[in-house]
Symmetry: C2
Amino acid sequence: MNRIIDEEIFLKEYNPNLFEKVSVTTDLLVFSISDIVTNNYRKLPEKIMSVYLVNRDNFPFKGKWSLPGGFLDPKETLADTAFKVLKRKMNLDTLYLEQLGTFDAITRDPRMRILSVAYMALINRQDLPRDIQACSNWFNIVRKGENLFLQNEQDSDLILDLSDKGSLAFDHVDIVLTGLMRLKNKIEYTDLVFHLLPKEFTLTELQNVYEAILGRKLLAPAFRREIKSKVEATGNYMTGSGHRPSALFRQRKNENVE
Amino acid sequence: MNRIIDEEIFLKEYNPNLFEKVSVTTDLLVFSISDIVTNNYRKLPEKIMSVYLVNRDNFPFKGKWSLPGGFLDPKETLADTAFKVLKRKMNLDTLYLEQLGTFDAITRDPRMRILSVAYMALINRQDLPRDIQACSNWFNIVRKGENLFLQNEQDSDLILDLSDKGSLAFDHVDIVLTGLMRLKNKIEYTDLVFHLLPKEFTLTELQNVYEAILGRKLLAPAFRREIKSKVEATGNYMTGSGHRPSALFRQRKNENVE
């Protein structure tokens, strides 16, 4: 009893400015999958990972591409802030969000000490509002040997080199690379991949998405053996000119979880 | 050129208090492995995971067990703060540290809005200063069915139930559970486990550490097949009364990395 009263007195007299505070922002790394349409009409479109960037219209780093982000309101959670940013910049209400990490290099922001808590979001392109699906903010993640580049989907001459930290505002190159690594590490032992796909998909599409994330080709028989327990046939087929109908699958939900 | 001058002016005139700031702390989840000495002298000691806690001598949560932690000094990085806490509370200079996540529930601290960036540290018990190795701050992580408990190593009657969030100060039960999950998920595809072991170990010890982290028994032949590529024989043997000499192994370093 005494302890509770002591704690009440302590809290009433507590000086919240005893320790210097810092500014905190949230940055959003929104990954999706784009189709690369090839010239060969018999071939299905190839898959490539893409990321959503905004061009900064304010200082600092005015004119540079950056991850969408915003300041944390101390009355809200970081996830609240993340969802507000998604609503404001992408008109999105829901999607898969996971905390990627807190980035805190002392000089990462020229204004002052600002920590950024980065979130990784995964979304199926087709679930986006039409204007966001096709806007000029999407960059394909292109590998050339060991190097990674971001290539604007609508302006193929606009290429950002991820080996140059100055290619994006702040330390956003680090955040992008951390997110790519996280996704690559987690994709084999989690069900994260399904957030990037429509509800129904062919096994070839699913394999192409894995390949886009892992950055290497997979052997179809081994891939199908390993993925078998994660998917189930829907009974539907994708048809189209130039290729045979393909069976459509969906994620198999673990019954213990539902 | 104009843009650089504009940015300079912008930064000079920038009001750092435009957005309300928050307090940030770092909390440390220090995991280690303890031996449970069994009565049977022929049996090697079993391994169990343990965590280092401190008893709070200040409000709030005075008298409760908690993770060691401290406030972030805005002139330092989060890792600097983490290492300072380790030095002050455990007299430790180096160990493996990885950011676990930022915990930000609005009411997690009764003083005010405080974000905590939690770090997970992994250490081989034998590398600790003697007084820290044997102190009363270590709690074994004990599983009983689906439930997890923390049992003080020196006072076996002191048991904290991790299914009760009030068992530790703040939201530290959440941080402990998040760290256990992270370690369990990462142990199979990373080399994290070796931070918990001495430089030389038997394969039985290594298997027991895996079992302690995964919370289940492994089959020795399958375990040895899978671990083979990660370890190499040192040529040394552990001898002791009651059991045959066992070959000692060490982590095999990837030559491409060195």
